[in-house]
């Protein structure tokens, strides 16, 4: 991440550079956190480490905790998730080894590191920290609704897991490349690990949700941009409340709708159709207006990872023509993406 796009570390400083731990993963889908860190902060990832039985690799050098420490690592990040979000029994001896090598442990799992007695004991013995980034700070206020200074951009989705984080990171990087003062504001565990700080919006008590979003992007200089990672979807049957609290508290001036072409049903909710992009734009503007009457849609981010370059370009052009808005895939740099950035800044 560009220095000027590096987030404030006031909220949640983390011990990077990281050694990425892949556990006993044999399925890349469970190591998205490690891949996210490799993709977005390679300069803060010294290598990877795993149980002997793991078959997944990020392509980074395989290092023991001692070797990683010698190369400057300060923390081992659990870059793998299993169903249930628990700390694997087979991981524990390796995590203890990392503590003994002088690394702090960092986790975004639901389970808390300190709840594993062997980790708590080893951390105390070695004088090392156990850091759970999915724990909200204790002092979140109720939202005030007061308009804050500075510019804010929020990515919103037609569903979960389709590119809101990558889109926000790409837009933050692009604004920084154009010389703007910008902070990426993370709202989920991988984003927080990438940014070194943020707010785990899904773990905040509901009454404080909008207040947590207000806390995440405080008053800033008039020309400063906060680019805020979206969560869920306003039409998600389980998570819409999270999305609405984040929208209200973020008070975005600009939003970008993220969508995966071809996904027709909400992930894990086969009875629920994915809302259209147009419907999502309209609803976001309607609800967002409450805390920022000037809210507008700057364009659309499509996740075209399943298409070849020509199919992708055709699709982006077609959708852009229909919606009369810039439509780009931030993972495919080029004219479309620059138009989307122009529109955000317009």
């Amino acid at each position: 991440m560009n220095a000027s796009a590096r987030p404030s570390e006031k909220l949640h400083p983390l011990p990077s550079p990281y050694l990425l731990f892949l556990g006993d993963a044999t399925e890349p889908a469970f190591t998205k956190t490690a891949f996210g860190l490799r993709d977005w902060i390679p300069e803060r990832c010294v290598g990877e480490w795993a149980c002997a039985e793991a078959t997944v690799s990020t392509g980074l050098p395989r290092l023991t905790p001692r070797e990683a420490r010698a190369r400057g690592a300060r923390g081992l990040v659990i870059g793998v998730a299993n169903v249930g979000g628990i700390i694997g029994e087979r991981w524990v001896p390796l995590l203890v080894e990392a503590l003994e090598a002088g690394l702090d442990l960092v986790s975004g799992l639901h389970a808390k590191l300190a709840d594993v007695p062997r980790l708590a004991t080893a951390a105390a013995r070695c004088g090392r920290a156990l850091i759970d980034v999915r724990v909200p700070p204790p002092n979140i206020p109720i939202a005030t609704g007061r308009k804050r200074t500075g510019k804010r951009l929020l990515t919103v989705g037609t569903d979960c897991a389709l590119g809101k984080k990558y889109t926000a990171l790409a837009l933050a990087r692009a604004l920084a490349a154009r010389g703007r003062a910008v902070d990426f504001r993370a709202t989920g565990q991988t984003g927080i690990l990438i940014a070194g700080g943020g707010m785990p919006m899904d773990a905040v008590v509901a009454d404080f949700e909008a207040g947590a979003a207000e806390m995440l992007s405080p008053d800033a200089a008039a020309d400063h941009w906060d680019v805020i990672e979206g969560q869920g979807s306003l039409l998600h049957p389980a998570y819409a409340g999270v999305s609405l609290g984040l929208l209200h508290g973020s008070q975005p001036d600009v939003f970008v709708v993220c969508h995966q072409p071809g996904r027709e049903r909400v992930l894990g909710y086969p009875d629920y159709r994915i809302p259209s992009i147009a419907e999502t734009i309209e609803l976001t503007a309607l609800l967002g207006r409450r805390t920022n009457p000037a809210i507008r849609c700057a364009g659309v981010s499509l996740n075209t990872s399943h298409l070849n370059p020509i199919e992708a370009r055709d699709l982006l052009a077609r959708e852009s023509g229909q919606l009369r808005l810039p439509v780009a895939d931030p993972m495919r740099p080029g004219r479309e993406f620059e138009r989307l950035v122009d529109s955000c800044l317009a």
Copy 2:
């Protein structure tokens, strides 16, 4: 509360009959919980008790804990709140006296009873329970979005604190009086104390908000009604996420909009206008449709406590004509309210 409208005690059984504790209150606004219990479950309130300096009274007999115990009380309810929701230092000796007299303590404050060491010690010594109703159960699932059997009614508001709980209680009682199988489903601390169970929606972690609402009104017989107490407002700058999670998880067939005529600004948010009733109806239907496409507005509940009977009747008639919906004040029984009940059942 009519027996058939008595809520299921599966979720959160509470030790009633109650002795209502008014602390050192000199201001009725801080004893709304005690008044709510007196108004809605007088048959479960044996009396009141307070510090010597208190000047507020519910009108119930003033009893010591020992006298209350002799008249059948099983729990002392903290019926007073102070700014900050903490347990008053001067209350503690009296609360210890209640434990010694054989009463459990029940509280809906933010502060936890067991966090006061003298209460924890006395409860352990006397073998009594300290019950905080604002603590959600530990096993709330993520919402499934699956349509449940039975009928559901949700009260929704144009703001906080204007009659959503009283409206839901009055409608539940009216449905019971018409012979319907009905449960009042409480979502806030006073409602939970009245009902003996419920879900403190504002204290649930955001990711589980809609799941908590699903848990609160489980599958029921096709002709059974759950009448669900609303929270906040979909246009509230701080609490809209709570309201949306509750709306999605409740899957209401019918909603009733609650409003206080003359209130023009959101309570505590002078920069935010109160949304109109029509706007609230439209937005609730738009968002509620996602989990129940058959959702409809049955009418409006106006809090006319500040008006005389003639002014109130004129206002109800005028609003009803404008909105083309039944409009009633549930605290003023009569033809208007019966029309609202008819419309809920239509």
